[in-house]
Amino acid sequence: MSEHGGYLFPNDLHILWQLMIVMYPYVTGLVAGAFILSSLYHVFHRDELRPIGRLALVASLGFLLFAPFTLLLHLGHPERCYNTLVTPNLSSAMAMFGFIYAGYMTLLVAEIWLVHRQDIIMLASRSEGIKRTFYKCLALGVYDVSPESRKVDHGVLLILAGIGIPGAAFLHGYVGFIFGAVKANPWWSTPLMPIIFLCSAIVSGIAMVIILYSIGMKFSNRKIDAPCMQSLARWLWMFALISITLELLEIMTLAYEAAEEWEVIGPLLGDQLAFSFIGIQLILGAMVPIILLGIVVLMSRYLTDQIRNTLCFVASLLLLVQVFAMRWNVVIGGQIFSKSMRGFREKYTPELFDKEGIALAIAIFVLPLLFIILFNRVLPVFEQPEKQLSTGAGTPSQ
């Protein structure tokens, strides 16, 4: 690049899509990933994942609730956001956000309601006063806890979760498509982008659930279910391997073809993004956790529960960082070079208290966690033993 004098188009001086647009695919990825994980239990009957079946769904809802804030904070005119619903451009991937979001939210809320229905009725029957009214409202007037009704619930749940899997894939696949469909940008424009986004979303979702599960068990003084954690580690390992393989394959293909775009992408990855791409996305965020999870999966019989849990926790934290780094490298990396393909913009460092600053990004990440805590105070995120339900179930009298 330097031989061309580092020329930037005059309008290309600043990074336009900043931290909030990094957060947007990150948060929606957590939504999709956590949902797909929950489906492993609800649809594919991986019973060992039962302890996190509800947590994954609630985590998915928590992040979904706050995902739009990333976009709203970015928009120049957030007050006009309704235009995406009123005058949507059907040839624009971004225009689909409102519809996909609304549909997915409906599905997720319905599924969570069904999963917690028995608990709602039980809590309504046990509580009094305003609390009782509140739970009765949540019950939506249905107090049937008979085995037949549970069977119906389960059937509906299966259908909803079944729709939810392609829904989640679509939710995040289209986020990848937003970038993959920009033919003006060689770092974004690849048909692999939606698949890479989806796989890394699943990685981040599973990693987040492992962390929430570990912390939840720690604070409730309960034991982490070893088969569950082992299974989570196995799934996480598999999806991490797939995700990182795809990321590397894309770059290897670009490098091997060495077409015009490699003139800008080569220096971008090797120089401009050396720390966040090679250091964080590939080594610290990918290689290390893959080794740690490999130990958990392949050497399971030699591990104590504590070591397994610790390895999984650390690997999950690192993978969360990896996925964030991947989003950063895609979103910011794709804008560091000018469309002149002959120069790089000034480096982007987010402000702390800006509209698209670090403080608000942290808030958007933390608020869903607070939502999960709040939700747990209303309805149990971790499944109660079966006997409690059967003894407590009943209809609250008027």
Partner: protein, 281 residues
């Protein structure tokens, strides 16, 4: 499914699943119908390309206030031609555009690049302040064998990615071939800025909406030419109209070896160049 009415024996005849249940179901049914109808209306309204409808019917433009009486946008198809061989890099066009369109500082609807290419094919390119102040002579330290000025602006592509990707239809292409932005509808997401391969769009720092070359639409629909074309002292920039018989630019495009920028992207630009060389992009 969860609202399947339970028998009285299931719930002890509670208030919730007795007479009100029917009302709730009715409400949900009505709600679902209303929602379905709304979505269907929106989808059907948007299914067809608005431009094509307008072309076919000669419909009124979105901003009729821009037009003087008697202007018929179906009778024009604007194109732009830049003759690189003629440009002297004076920057008059950039200044004229900036003044005419109140372009914010450090942003450009049009700009001029200076290319200096060495014998080995190495290109030294600059465009200080978009070429607005002209170009100071300077040494590159290289064996320069050819040099030229390269004016740029929005290519007003026929198959433009900026219109394709705009989530709210704020970016649109008029029947007479000009790509415009409806600033009252733009949400300022910046997707069009990312999508433009030519770097000709920017987010206006004051209005926070997408901004770009309008081909001086307020002028050309009144029979004037664009500010940049009018300001050019050497006729390096020309505005043409493909629907006007005997139009000079249309004739050049039809008969001479004109080129477009980044043809591999198939955006079908309507800004043509004479004298483009392999280093220029």
């Amino acid at each position: 499914m969860p609202t399947t009415p339970a028998s009285d024996s299931d719930c002890g005849g509670c208030h919730a699943c007795t007479p009100n249940d029917g009302t709730r179901r009715d409400f949900l049914k009505q709600g679902a119908k209303a929602l379905g109808a709304s979505v269907a209306t929106i989808v059907l309204c948007d299914m067809t390309d608005l431009t094509k409808i307008a072309e076919a019917s000669g419909a009124t433009p979105r901003r009729p206030d821009l037009f003087t009486d008697g202007y018929d946008w179906t009778k024009h198809r604007y194109v732009y031609l830049v003759d690189i061989r003629k440009c002297i890099g004076c920057g008059s066009c950039v200044r004229a555009c900036s003044q005419e369109n109140n372009v914010p500082p450090a942003h450009f609807r049009t700009w001029v690049e200076r290319y200096r290419v060495s014998r080995t094919g190495e290109a030294v390119i600059d465009s200080d302040n978009g070429g607005m102040d002209g170009f100071e002579p300077s040494m590159t330290g290289k064996d320069i064998t050819k040099a030229f000025f390269f004016p740029k602006l929005c290519c007003h592509c026929t198959h433009t990615p900026c219109v394709q990707l705009c989530p709210v239809c704020a970016s649109y292409r008029t029947v007479d071939g000009v790509v415009l932005v409806d600033e009252t509808r733009c949400i300022g997401c910046g997707y069009c800025v990312q999508a433009c391969p030519y770097g000709s769009r920017f987010i206006h720092p004051v209005t926070h909406t997408a901004s770009k070359c309008t081909l001086c639409y307020h002028r050309i629909t009144r029979g004037l030419t664009t500010a940049c074309v009018q300001a050019c002292p050497v006729e390096a920039r020309m505005l043409g109209d493909m629907k006007q018989v005997g139009d000079k630019v249309a004739e050049i495009i039809a008969t001479q070896r004109v080129q477009i920028l980044q043809p591999e992207l198939l955006t079908d630009p309507n800004c043509y160049y004479l004298g483009l060389t392999k280093e220029a992009r």
